[in-house]
Amino acid sequence: MTIDRPLVRRELRDAVRRYWFLVNAGAFAVAGLLFVLFGDTGSMLVGSRGYARALAGLMQLALVFVPLMALVPSVVAIAGEREAGTLDYLLAQPLTRTRVFVDKWTGVGTAVVLSVLVGLGFTAVAAALKGVPGGRIAALMGLTVLLALAFVSLGMWLSALTTSRTKATSLGLTVWLLLVGLGSLGVMSAFVQWGVPAGALEAWALVNPIEAYRLAAIAILDPEAGVLGAVGQALLEALGVAGLVAASVASLAAWSGAAFLLGRRAFSRPDRRGPGRTPARSTT
């Protein structure tokens, strides 16, 4: 297959040339297989329900790991080039800034999605062989891709706002920690104890992309498994399985779209810095 977009092609080649693409896919595949093969050990559940619970365990891993997989390459996609002094030469070509942003997003996004799909692919095959319905597996994979794209957009936005790899990476990790931390059941329970209204917590659970992914994944796999948490359970009762999945998917899609648009807007503003000399070393 030939890609007629040189910048997309370059980002994809870059991903393959660098270790993260293979390491991410490999690590995800190994973890997934371990969960599917041994995750139901000790469970009193048998058959596909037991494996679904094992897959739910895998999703717990994915909701921490996939955002990181997506953020690491995306936060440096622009900031790294800006720091290395290679961005100016790229922008001196007959391209619009929007085109540069879109192509970089497409290249990084495609690489991240491919590594997620390759990693999850092994798990999916193993889970299907163990009796988990194919439809559920496909839905989960689609959901995980949406989660990855939401964080690629978020990473690209942060990258457009920053001028160095270090700043961009620090910012990305901070956002990741906040979203993971504020979605954890412990923090949500603490909020309940502090008297935060249930409606606000439910809204936050859907607004936080990591929590939205977790709720939708559990709803798809096994809503009766008792791991949704109080807020998730309340949402399930209010929206039903289909409604909860739809709301979560809409949240992830909104994150992806909004962060993309904000990133494109930030990138479309020309740099305010002067023409000082820049180190001539690319890192992206």
Partner: protein, 305 residues
């Protein structure tokens, strides 16, 4: 082809371009001179749309600026410090030839014209290439695009003298129809490449004309350098000081540099021939560009004298 009208650019309180007005016709070769911070690179950045500005700047009627895709299509660019992409030379050519719509063959041909074989060096990482090879790669990409204008921002800044001379020779061979804008501090590249000089000082045009006019405006002429055997150098200086046409005598390396009107150079040499001082070599030397610019804008940089 290129027109600037009341062009202003400031970074915070710092005014970098302060109302530039100029026009450059197709095929003209213009050198932009000036001290660091005079506004040369900022002007190029405005043209390429890398920064915003106030006023008008256009190429073939297309407005420059961040949205100036049509301007960038018409301008090939060689940066001051060639950025090193984390790519092989093959990858670099593939990316930028692709973005310019140039075939790989055409880019390889241009590289070969400049003495770089894509077959032999294509697999090398850009970080492994010498400064000269990198500059050639960037020049090859600019030339392969066959743009009507070339923007060269101190293109030989990172080259050794031999590579610099070769680079200038290559640029002299560029198609005569191409408009060339060159930012430079070096007379040895301005003289053979540019037919018009624009001196920028504190964001304004301090001079716009030919090189000879620049010397005349600054009140300077070409100097004369004369060499004698080491034992005779003192006698040479003494003899020259006696000549009323010689305004100043500067012992310089193996010889003596004098300040005298160009019209008097022959007379000075003739008088030396008639004297007992043996002259082994002489050369006319253009005034140093730094001295000319210093005279033009004032030694203290406060403004034209």
């Amino acid at each position: 082809m290129i027109r600037a009208a009341d062009l202003h650019k400031r970074y915070g309180d710092l005014v970098v371009l302060d109302g530039l007005d100029f026009e450059i016709a197709r095929g003209e070769r213009v050198a932009f001179l000036g001290a660091n911070g005079a506004g040369k690179t900022t002007l190029f950045r405005c043209l390429l749309g890398l920064t915003d500005f106030d006023g008008a700047l256009a190429v073939d009627g297309h407005a420059a600026g961040p949205a100036g895709e049509e301007v960038r299509r018409r301008v090939g660019y060689v940066p001051q410090l060639p950025p090193v992409y984390d790519l092989s030379l093959d990858g670099f050519v593939d990316l930028f030839a692709g973005l310019r719509g140039v075939s790989r063959e055409a880019a390889a041909e241009r590289l070969a014209d400049l003495g770089l074989s894509l077959e032999e060096t294509g697999g090398k990482e850009m970080g492994e290439l010498s400064g000269g090879m990198l500059q050639k790669a960037y020049l090859a990409m600019a030339l392969a695009a066959e743009t009507p204008a070339l923007l060269l921002d101190e293109p030989t800044a990172s080259l050794d003298p031999a590579s610099r001379r070769e680079f200038v020779r290559l640029l002299q061979e560029v198609d005569g129809d191409a408009t060339m804008l060159l930012a430079s501090h070096r007379l040895e590249e301005i003289e053979p490449l540019a037919d018009r000089l624009v001196v920028l000082h504190r964001g304004r045009i301090a001079f716009d004309g030919a090189l000879e006019e620049l010397w005349a405006t600054a009140g300077m002429t070409a100097g004369l350098w004369i060499a004698a055997p080491p034992a005779e150098r003192e006698a040479l200086a003494r003899e020259l000081r006696r000549n009323p046409a010689v305004r100043a005598v500067h012992p310089n390396g193996t010889g003596v540099r004098i300040d005298a009107d160009e019209a008097d150079h022959l007379d000075v040499l003739e008088r030396l021939r008639r004297s007992d001082v043996p002259v082994v070599e002489f050369r006319t030397r253009p005034p140093a560009l730094e001295e000319v610019l210093a005279k033009l804008v004032g030694e203290d940089g406060e403004g034209p004298r």
